[in-house]
Symmetry: D2
Subunit: 240 residues, 4 copies
């Protein structure tokens, strides 16, 4: 059983009369939770406005994969929390960063870059392409699939150069984007996936959910360990 | 002319009667400054205990390559300063991290990892190997050279997987290490180089100085720019 | 002065009454030669039907950068010639592979893969994006530029995973592609660039020529060397 | 059940009165077969002097992982066989290359490089280090282990830069080496592992066998597929 914690900023959906609240009643974390439900996943949801910003130490310690959706409140997430999350990733906790989470403190910390990109929100169509069908996150995903409406995210995407690109996205308005990218930091695996603007229905799309489910299973099953321990070592060979 | 700022923690060398102060009178930054002196380099030195921890905005803005040596006071370096440095790296400033700087906040931020390693300080001999003679940092450096005494740094070295390894080190006591590693973060180039324990004479060694000089010239000549600007983009193709 | 040899298959353009011969009279190598002309480039052109398939040992030995355009006669290029080229790349000769050259024996040999891709030839528009403005091949190239007509090349593109992507292409019909990719094999640099179908005018486009010129200068200036020599080495440390 | 085919050049061991024949009676493929025996592995052995050089099409088609040991007869392996093997790797067959197989045609073809290295055969001691304990090939392998006698292989090792290094080796005589390296080519996984000189007992060592067994299971379980098919594609979006 993989213990999954979905963290949602949950601010857009609470704006009265707003589109996000209509598309995702109760918050997009609930749509993700319901869409991802499976016998091998134990899914919990938390939000920014929960105590300890939703992620007390005990919950992090009990999490195999943390799913992250944030947007307009990136700056409110405490630096100390970001450090706690990053340390657990180093020790093998999985991290799946969604959509506007590209600009979160935790994803920037993973990359060592700003993770800036081009963007435009006009509801244009988006098409996702699989470039590495052999990757675990691509299993069962068609070579290509379309989303009728998405926010455009385009290159240049300022991420670390070791991101292994599993998916690329094409946008009607002329852009292209590394939209599904796998990273490793110490013992931990990280996956970024672009679809999921708060005003569109991407988190009800079967292909999008398939990718996110795969990403949870791939990142959430790395062996947990602290390694190495940064301590003094005795010589193993004769030094005379 | 490349504007170089050598930042030295400068604490070990001030301990009265200590070995570092005897090996590097006035601080190892002075040995580096003198050993690296060349017509194309304009070298300034600063230390942790200088005002603004040695790196006011104006100096950073006037720096093409920042050389970093720190050890026991990593924790004292302010997070805000680390962010200012990292942002300049993204915009093209070079960064050369030396020896125990592997565990500095700025190098951890570049990697998104702890940068932990094995270590041992018994003055054993070290041998450096060049694995990519075509890299700019390897120009004029012999295939291999030895250092009579160095601190052992050994694998596993917890850095980001995209580090391009130019040099490996062999240690008498049985370890091996990725000792010269090149990174890119946005427009900026970073180079890490292992030799340089405060109690040994590595910064008087011609080969070590050659590598550091090459690293300064390689990282310090990237074009400076802010790119891209993370702003809304108009569609370039008809979206209808 | 960089010695450039442009190798063109030169078969399409000789088909009487064909479009390629009208778009590129005398062969596309002449359009490239004229479009790339510059004081620092000494450009020669050869074709498949020349003696020794255009590339006798002496010419290869006198070449800093080999530019390759082939398509329907990939199979005719002799394996022995491919090996001779590859060996020179290892020793530092640059290689720039254009368009349908993706499926040439030499590019397959560089990658260790088939270099297969999706394709379609309906003259749709193509848009090139720069993803790494700091790369030498991107200097002076705008963030994006369009080509009115090109053959579509799309993902998945079966190349080696270490290709550093400098440019991506967007195609009107819904595909995206890694269209400008840099490789290193031993001491040699290789660059692949997608535009250049024989029936369209891409090799008269200023941006396309700018990229190819940059690629020639980047790949053609690596230091030439044979390294290492695969021979027995004496121990450097005491083995007792 | 993973279908494993161990291919051994099997020439050294047949030299009458030679050390290899004494250390590995009947050929080192038998030592490997016996040492690797496990319920999930169906192991067959073949040698260069078997009909069709040991690898008829039908056997290759029935192989999930090919293990390769060759040395003095690399040149005798037919180019056509190398191409057949490579094509199956692209389609998902695993490949584990051992020791002097670094200089085989198939490993050179995977890398696009010469795979040259430094070497010396004086029976010095070797120490293997694990640099990525989270990799499947490292499971159950100690952080470091020693081999009393091995042939020295040293940097620079001229392989493709995307090799993910899981193990490094240290040699008594002063060298260091990327001794356990993972690659991906299309759908196929490849692992290279250095220990195994024909005159030493490395293939009776429990740690060496553990690594090779892991490598077989990691490379031999990739999904088999031909992808993509390099054929014309219809547009998915309106091209006007």
């Amino acid at each position: 059983m993989i213990k999954v914690t979905i963290w949602n900023e949950f601010r857009h959906e609470k704006v009265e009369g707003g589109v996000p609240g209509q598309v995702y009643p109760g918050g997009l974390h609930l749509a993700l939770r319901d869409g991802l439900a499976a016998p091998d996943l134990d899914i919990r949801t938390v939000t920014l406005d929960d105590p300890e910003q939703g992620l007390p130490e005990a919950l992090l310690d009990d999490t195999d994969c943390l799913v992250w959706w944030g947007h307009k409140a990136h700056g409110e997430v405490e630096d100390a929390l970001v450090k706690r999350i990053l340390k657990r990733v180093w020790n093998g906790m999985g991290l799946v960063v969604l959509h506007s989470g590209h600009y979160s403190k935790i994803f920037q910390a993973v990359n060592g870059t700003s993770c800036r990109l081009r963007w435009r929100e006009i509801g244009e169509s988006c098409r996702v392409w699989c470039a590495d069908p052999s990757h675990p996150v691509a299993q069962g995903v068609p070579e290509t699939f379309a989303l009728e409406h998405e926010e455009m995210y385009g290159e240049p995407f300022m991420i670390a150069p070791d991101g292994h690109v599993v998916f690329y996205s094409w946008f009607k308005g002329g852009e292209t984007f590394r939209s599904g990218v796998a990273f490793q930091r110490e013992n931990g695996r990280i996956f970024y996936f672009q679809p999921g603007h708060e005003t569109y229905r991407s988190y009800y799309d079967a292909n999008v959910l398939k990718v996110i489910g795969n990403a949870i299973r791939w990142t959430g099953t790395a062996e947990r360990r602290v390694y190495p321990s940064m301590k003094r070592a005795e010589p193993l060979e004769k030094v005379d």
